[in-house]
Amino acid sequence: MTEVTPCWQRQVDRLVASGPDQERPPPAATAMTRKPSETQPRSNAVSRRRMVKSRSAPASRVGVSDLKRFVEDVAIENLAREGSASAREIVESLPGAVLKFAQAEAFSAVMSDIATWGPVCILLTSRDGVFEFNGVLPPVEHVHGYYYWVGEGPIRGRLHDDRCSDIAFIEREFLGRLAASVVVFNVDGNIMLKIVPMRDADSAVQATQLKAMRALARRVCRSRPQKAARA
């Protein structure tokens, strides 16, 4: 993992510091709408973290940290869309990220395991938005070139198996907290979908899901991240 901050990180920082918000933000959220230079030294992660902790997320609204996480997700995919780097390359160079990769062949095993975790958040990102579904993933069936999520539950779907390139298990600190996700990349280096463990009342990643995610990663991932050979 490179120690040098990648060129796109400043753009992500700026976006994370500035948006998005509800139309009428609660007073507590106004600090977020200020330019970073007005409230803190530029790119000062410590003071930004303090700033985040001093606010409480508005009740029954999209939480501030949710929005910032979302902005970063969108920033990564927008940058990827601009063609400077693939989403995969950007994720691989996320500062401080612990990455483990499983091969596409592990898709059924990964998704069938996640189906036992209870409700998770499934994210799909396109240029038209970020679509998120919270719920229990049904078991996956691999038939005729597709992975199918089947059943009578609220979430269903199918993905071309030959579009899947590999699966990353990501843990990193974001906004002063641990963030964890399972990201499925397609053969173009873009993100097919992303599974995010739920958070508990304190906004920490649910301990049982984190444990399950780590156990799964140990089972299906190569022992070293793909880029380790270069370091």
Binding site: S126, D128, H160
Partner: protein
């Protein structure tokens, strides 16, 4: 309306088989999804302008369970459940919530909306298709069904009322 040279053929094809997958038809005729939907028989589709996006979404938020479908190059994901009402902020239509469907949608990329009522796999279906600037589909919302797989009557009535309110039938 975005007519194409092969529109008569496309219209004939869809008149003969109005339940065809628009994704398949669009590929066959090398047209956008929007053009394929426009090729459906006139009685089966109506169009509203793209700036009705927020109004439509917040109306559908009152409809109980619907099915949201998102296509990508990689496949299709579907979710059945209620849609929360949302609000515009920072360039996104933000759908709050920690259960079911939520997210952040680029309402400003909506260039038009189709209200489609047509047979689909042998049954009546009613759907709202949000078109993006490229003529693709951002996502679709299908009117919910009951235990017998029949369209929910109150939702269908709300769908038709909304369409009547917003749409201009195009030839």
């Amino acid at each position: 309306m975005t007519e194409t040279a092969n529109a008569p053929d496309l219209r004939d094809r869809l008149a003969a088989d109005p339940g065809a997958l628009v994704e398949t038809v669009a590929k066959e005729y090398n047209v956008t999804l929007r053009q394929a939907v426009e090729g459906l028989p006139e009685s089966m589709r109506q169009f509203a302008p793209g700036d009705c996006f927020v109004r439509i979404m917040n109306e559908v938020a009152n409809w109980s369970e619907v099915t949201v479908i998102i296509h990508s190059d990689d496949g299709v994901m579907e979710f059945t459940g209620p849609i929360p009402s949302g609000s515009v902020g920072r360039g996104y239509f933000n759908l709050p919530g920690s259960r079911g469907f939520h997210g952040h949608l680029r309402h400003d990329r909506c260039a038009g909306v189709a209200f489609v009522e047509r047979p689909f796999f042998g049954r009546p279906s009613a759907s709202i298709l949000f078109f993006n600037l490229e003529g693709g589909v951002m996502f679709k919302i299908f009117v919910g069904r009951d235990d017998k797989r029949e369209l929910l009557k109150d939702q269908l009535a709300a769908f038709q009322a909304l369409a009547a309110n917003l749409c201009v039938r195009q030839r």
